[in-house]
């Protein structure tokens, strides 16, 4: 758009690590890993190590630890996304063909998906919080 700041040709075509599209999938990937790790831990623990009453307190502790790690990573990703989105004084929409706008757009997507991933991770963890046994 006309309102975006001027940029030279080199800058547009340069992709550095902060404009990488991969940032967008980082938070959902953390959620996916957290989800798999939680259920795999439960499945393996319940099949191999649970005692006769089927209590799964160890699984709950493990999932709690996974959750803290996941939320910290997601928060970091989300925070850096938000920072990049806020960079400069430009107003949205950020749809100019410039590196600066690309950066802001990826930043916003990263930020919003981090929020979603955080909620999804908490939802996964809640299951383990409430369901205390292998039954």
């Amino acid at each position: 758009m006309a309102m975006t700041e001027t940029s030279n040709h080199n800058e547009i075509n340069k992709t550095d690590h902060v404009t990488s599209i991969w940032w967008i999938v980082a938070a959902p990937a953390v959620w996916a890993v957290h989800f798999l790790a939680s259920y795999l831990t439960a499945a393996i623990f319940c099949a191999k190590f649970a005692d006769s009453d089927g209590s799964a307190g160890e699984v709950q502790l493990a999932v709690m630890a996974y959750t803290v790690v996941a939320i910290v990573i997601i928060a970091g990703v989300g925070w850096s996304g938000r920072r990049r989105h806020r960079d400069g004084h430009d107003r949205s929409p950020h749809d100019g063909a410039t590196t600066a706008d690309l950066r802001r757009m990826i930043g916003l997507s990263t930020f919003l998906l981090s929020l979603l991933s955080a909620v999804a991770t908490v939802f996964t963890a809640l299951v383990f919080y409430f369901v205390e046994t292998c039954h």
Binding site: V119, V122, L126, Y129, F130, E132
Partner: protein
Amino acid sequence: MSFLLIGDHSQSTLDPAGHGAAQIADLFHWMLGGGVLIWLIVVGLAVYSVVVPGGHRPRLTKTLVIGGGAVFPTLVLTSLLCYALAMLPELHRPPPQASLTIDVSGVRWWWRVAYRTGENQRVETANEIRLPVDQPVEFKLTSEDVIHSFWIPALGGKVDMIPGRETRLKLHPNRVGTFRGVCAEYCGTAHAQMAFDVLVMPQADFEQWLRGQQRDVSEPSGPAATAGRALFHRKGCGACHTIRGTDAGGRVGPDLTHFGSRLSLGAAIKPNDADNLRRWISRTHDVKPGVQMPAFEMLNRDELDSIVAYLEQLN
């Protein structure tokens, strides 16, 4: 058996007659309420944005869209999730050790039912389950062919029956009555005709019934029923059906030892009366397309009547 008359034959989760179903009904109502609330707010905001003329203040717009469109639904869904998850442990907890245990296996397209009456002792029946009121009961579920799903909506949730595996379901009926159970997983041609009756009865009546089920059949009385028994064997019915106390020991079809006392026939698709029974035996595939029992069209009217008289006496 006067309680049979007051049965309402309900098949509704929202008219619960057991602990599990009552919780599911509560959950349904809360989820409905939460869903309606979210819908009203989101659609209300959309309508507001269109209907109210002129520009909207950006700050307020932002608050309403983010608050009403994202934060509020997330909070409502999180509370509903917690409410639902908090129900699970109790629903899944196995019942006390000495509770009634019933084995049910799904067979295309009927239900094999066996009450565990003692150490290594079981009494088999089919297509009808009777339960004592206010007692927890545990079902051990399996399948002999494809995946079926065991569901008595008025009493609780459903659980899949999987070949080669045993799944569990605990129910706790709290109201006397007659209910309907169904197969809730598509399993072939006659899936929709794979149901069963559930009779929840006072403890004493239940015990009396179970004692009756443990008995073998007695001699048929009257010439028709006696002829019917002979025909039952001669026509080969016994190759597929068991009648305890006789030579009939087949396991392909439902146990008929106390068939006369069942409310319905053909996996709860018709009331168990003489007319329906005649039709069932002579025109089996018209009554239940796809059924795994051959139709006995060659029987003449007398023969049919005799077999029907015999089966009706199997109380």
